[in-house]
């Protein structure tokens, strides 16, 4: 008998598909939280595999803060069209009307209103009871203990004490009305796994992940791309063209770029493996305090 074994990526893929199918079967209104990033792209790819040859049995939800990179929005709309997806775009209109921007309110408050609050409002509006997210346990220390099914109360809050033990692949999706479960099918993937899978499966990603000449300014040691003319430059700041790429994508004023020449996936992986800084360091919101991700999770952000 040949050894019936799978490579680690195929094993991760199978595990994720199992989780996605289980959620689709046991919940009434699941949704895939689509952030347009590489993890979301992998998640979407796995969800399509789970239900092939059928369509996705749930919609995608993108919480649009209105400050995403233009390339991200163009990518999102094209992918939704080409793959025949049900895409819901939600923006906190109150926040938009009040002109809540990263510049006017600071990163923390802006993120809370335009991202965290917007997400909660969208979940309430559509009554979703299960939300797929692309978070991984290797991203940050506090996530090492996150369950695959993370139960949130009526206020979408995470309570570390009410999380359920998860054994085998028997996920407990029972909730009371009004509660929801955040589901993380990529829990056991690492950043390298994601990149390699993107590479092997030819998954399309936003071009911002690849190095190119882009207009950036250096602010507090972070390279910020000037993606449109809403970016308010401080005295003395002058955008310069540099070869940069992004390790994580979010709102452009909050996403730090890194200088890089890596213009292909293998080159990105090569740089990443040699890199000495962990992935989330590119995100400005993590800098608040040690353990701030933990705080955000309790508030309802992923």
């Amino acid at each position: 008998m040949p050894g019936y074994t799978l490579t680690h990526l195929k094993q991760l893929e199978a595990e994720s598909i199992h989780i996605i199918r289980e959620v689709a079967a046991e919940f009434e209104r699941p949704v895939l939280l689509y952030s347009i990033g590489k993890d979301s792209s992998v998640l979407l790819h796995l969800a399509r595999k789970a239900f092939y040859p059928g369509r996705l049995p749930f919609p995608l939800l993108h919480v649009d803060t209105t400050w995403k990179f233009r390339d991200m929005i163009a990518f999102r709309d094209r992918i939704a069209r080409e793959l025949d997806l049900d895409l819901i775009v939600y923006t906190n209109e109150e926040g938009r009307a009040a002109n809540v921007t990263p510049f006017t309110y600071g990163s923390r408050k802006y993120t809370d209103i335009m991202k965290t609050q917007a997400l909660k409002d969208a979940l309430d509006k559509y009554g979703f009871d299960a939300c797929f997210g692309g978070a991984r346990r290797d991203e940050e220390k506090s996530r090492a203990k996150e369950r695959v099914y993370s139960v949130r109360d009526r206020n979408h809050r995470w309570d570390p004490k009410s999380q359920r033990p998860e054994l085998w692949n028997l996920y407990n999706g029972r909730i009371n009305p009004g509660e929801e479960v955040r589901v993380f099918p990529l829990s056991n993937w690492t950043e390298l796994d994601v990149w390699q899978y993107v590479y092997l499966e030819n998954i399309e990603i936003v071009p911002l992940y690849l190095a190119a000449e882009r207009p950036v300014v250096e602010r507090d040691g972070t390279l910020i791309m000037v993606d449109d003319d809403r970016m308010e430059l401080e005295p003395g700041e002058e955008p310069t063209m540099r070869s940069v790429r992004f390790r994580t994508l979010g709102c452009y004023p909050l996403s730090g770029a890194i200088e890089s020449e890596a213009a292909t996936l293998p080159e990105i992986i090569q740089e990443m493996l040699i890199a000495t800084h962990s992935e989330r360091q590119g995100r400005v919101i993590d800098y608040d305090t040690s353990g701030s991700m933990e705080q955000k999770k309790r508030e309802g952000y992923f």
């Binding site: 799978l6 595999k49 239900f51 359920r164 028997l170 029972r174 092997l200 493996l273 353990g291």
Partner: protein, 644 residues
């Protein structure tokens, strides 16, 4: 990552990726308490395999100065401690998963902390692991908790154990210390049936024998921990014989396609294979194995696929597709080892949602057969299972499920209990092989072949008219020495004298012949009662009254006997007397032996006796005496019109 890997990344990323693409995953568990150096070991593995990024290391070096326990040095344990509150308390409080990778394998570590919630957390972590690293502090040797960890790892189906004798630096790297611990531990583990056992002397703090061979222990010629983790073979643990696919989703995008999606949970399936839909038993043939990457010729665990069948058979979520020949068991009762995980204890009778495979059914613990003392591994009687306790439970479900023994198939042998109100996962169960539990197998087993009961040409009412009585089985139940058989014979005599016809089946005589192969465990007692019930049924069919005298300590078993014989011709008479009186009558020394610990299965002393919930008659034998008891039973029979 080894230096060679770093070089390969720099010089030829494509070659590195090609190498990385062929890796497999090893999931392992690390067990030990706070002081065993477990977090330090994990930090060391991550550090030495270059999985710590510089910013994380900066944070650790900074934190080591404020909260670290290694004065002056880098505290690798800080690398693995997660939640803010836990860090402040200096402990970790749940299962945390760590990831690292070498050129050979990707590793997932389930890290479970050692404190009072240990059993629950360790069971959770172990449920998905293939290997466990048991940490033993060289200064303290094999502790009760070491045995506890080992037992739980084994219970959860882990077949490969590595005993890492840590802190060898604190005992001057002494070979004698290591050998003594090895001998001590081996004496214990040899009884547990572990497939593969390794011993490694290490110092997690200094890195000895973790990744690099230790220069301090030249006497140790075996593999380093890392070498072992990279090379241990776990693929053979999988069952490739018996195909199983629990259906998760019926995929029906349009009328032309109907597929059954799920993860292969055992065996291999190929297109053209015959499959059985369990539990309905319908058969069909696999047409295609569909994936987005194209159809496959074959699929095996844990692949997630979609099967189409050649026939339009009825298949829904919760069904299992299985290969004919070696089907899973189908039953609404099963025995499981249960780890209880909630503050509210498991109480027999209380209903829970049981999730098994892709099904959820309502169920309850019909019987708590025993609790396991995880320190001594002794079985002990218990009325409920508290948080972190482990016990053998007979689970009764409202619908039949298709399952395997946990030892044969983890996916089909595992189940979780969910509280109906809080929705929290409160327990985890591992099914026993019902073939191993004789009682379970025989009560529920479907007879082999196409069998039909022949119909007698003498009708029941013809017999009743001839004999002047209606047949009935009377079960006289109660503790040993309460007077069951003596009273049964007294009733038999009285009935005979009055022109009736009865016969006595007494436990001891029955065991001399019909059940001479059975002992006194709960399973064997249950099987003994099953045989007695079947015999009584035949006696009743012949028109006779059957007086049976058996201890029959379990309510659930008596209930089964009632159902087997027939509700309308079964009477339960409960005989009682003070235990002190019974011990006085103990000529053959049964109770005395039980009290000395020499007889493990004596209801009333070493095992529970379930008092009948609704007996037709209760008689205090010491107070009434034999004749009065017999008379009361005659009255009962007359009152129910079995005799005139």
């Amino acid at each position: 990552m080894a230096t060679s890997a770093q070089e390969l990344i720099a010089s030829d990323i494509h070659a590195y990726l090609a190498q990385h693409e062929r890796k497999e995953i090893l999931k392992f568990l690390t067990c030990g308490s706070v002081d065993d150096g477990k977090s330090t070991l994990i930090g060391r593995l991550l550090h030495d395999s270059k999985m710590i990024y510089e910013d994380q290391l900066d944070a650790i070096v900074r934190d080591s100065k404020t909260t670290g326990t290694q004065r002056g040095g880098v505290d690798y344990a800080l690398l693995t401690d997660g939640l803010q509150a836990e860090r402040e308390q200096g402990i970790t409080i749940d299962v945390a998963y760590r990831y690292f990778s070498t050129t050979k394998r990707k590793f997932i570590i389930a890290d479970t902390p050692g404190h009072e919630q240990y059993t629950r957390n360790m069971a959770t972590g172990a449920s998905t692991c293939d290997l466990a690293v048991i940490l033993i502090d060289a200064r303290r040797g094999v502790l009760p908790q070491t045995r506890r960890h080992t037992y739980i790892a084994r219970l959860l189906g882990i077949r490969h154990l590595v005993a890492a004798v840590n802190k060898m630096d604190t005992v001057d790297y002494d070979e004698g210390v290591f050998d003594a611990i090895r001998a001590d531990y081996f004496a214990f583990t040899s009884k547990l049936g572990i497939d593969e056992m390794h011993f490694i002397p290490i110092s997690a703090l200094h890195g000895d024998n973790v990744v690099e061979q230790s220069p301090n222990m030249p006497w140790y010629q075996g593999a380093t921990l890392m070498h072992l983790l990279e090379n241990v073979q776990v693929a053979a643990d999988k069952d490739i014989e018996h195909f199983r696919l629990p259906v998760q989703v019926v995929n029906r995008p349009d009328p032309s396609f109907r597929g059954y999606s799920g993860s292969v949970a055992g065996g291999v399936v190929r297109s053209g294979d015959e499959v059985v839909v369990v539990p309905s038993g319908r058969r069909s043939t696999v047409d295609r194995i569909v994936t987005m990457d194209g159809d496959l010729d074959e699929a095996f665990a844990p692949m997630a696929v979609t099967l189409t069948l050649t026939d339009d058979v009825d298949v829904s979520r919760g069904d299992v597709l299985a290969a004919p020949g070696g089907l899973p068991y189908i039953a609404d009762r099963l025995d499981a080892m249960v780890v209880w995980m909630a503050d509210d204890a498991l109480v027999p009778g209380r209903q829970y949602i049981v999730k098994h495979g892709t099904r959820q059914v309502v169920g309850h613990a019909a019987t708590l057969r025993y609790r396991v003392d995880v320190n001594t591994l002794q079985h002990e009687a218990a009325t409920q299972l508290e948080l972190n306790e482990i016990g053998r439970v007979e689970v009764a479900l409202t619908e039949s499920i298709a399952f395997d023994a946990y030892g044969a198939n983890r996916d089909l042998g595992s189940l979780i209990f969910i509280d109906r109100i809080s929705n929290v996962t409160v327990g985890a169960g591992m099914a026993f092989d019902p073939g191993g539990s004789i009682a379970q197998a025989a009560w529920d087993r479907t007879p082999h072949g196409e069998l039909h009961a022949a119909v007698s040409r003498v009708a029941a009412d013809e017999r009743a008219a001839r004999l002047g009585q209606h047949p009935v089985t009377v079960l006289l139940t109660g503790l040993a020495k309460v007077g069951k058989t003596v009273i049964a014979h007294a009733v038999e005599r009285k009935l005979f004298d009055a022109g009736g016809l009865a016969t006595v089946l007494d436990g001891q005589s029955f065991r001399l012949g019909m059940s001479r192969d059975l002992g006194f465990s709960p399973e064997e007692r249950s099987e003994n009662i099953r045989r007695a019930a079947e015999t009584a049924r035949l006696i009743n069919d012949a028109g006779l009254i059957c007086l049976t005298s058996f201890v029959a300590p379990e309510e659930a078993v008596r209930e089964r006997a009632r159902r087997a014989i027939g509700e309308d011709r079964f009477l339960e008479v409960y005989l009682t007397a003070p235990l002190a009186v019974l011990k006085d009558r103990d000529e053959d020394g049964l109770y005395a032996a039980a009290e000395r610990g020499e007889a493990p299965h004596v209801p009333g002393v070493t095992e529970d006796f379930d008092e009948p919930v609704a007996p037709d008659l209760t008689l205090e034998t010491e107070r009434l005496g034999v004749d009065a008891c017999a008379e009361r039973i005659i009255e009962l029979l007359r009152g129910k019109d079995f005799i005139n």
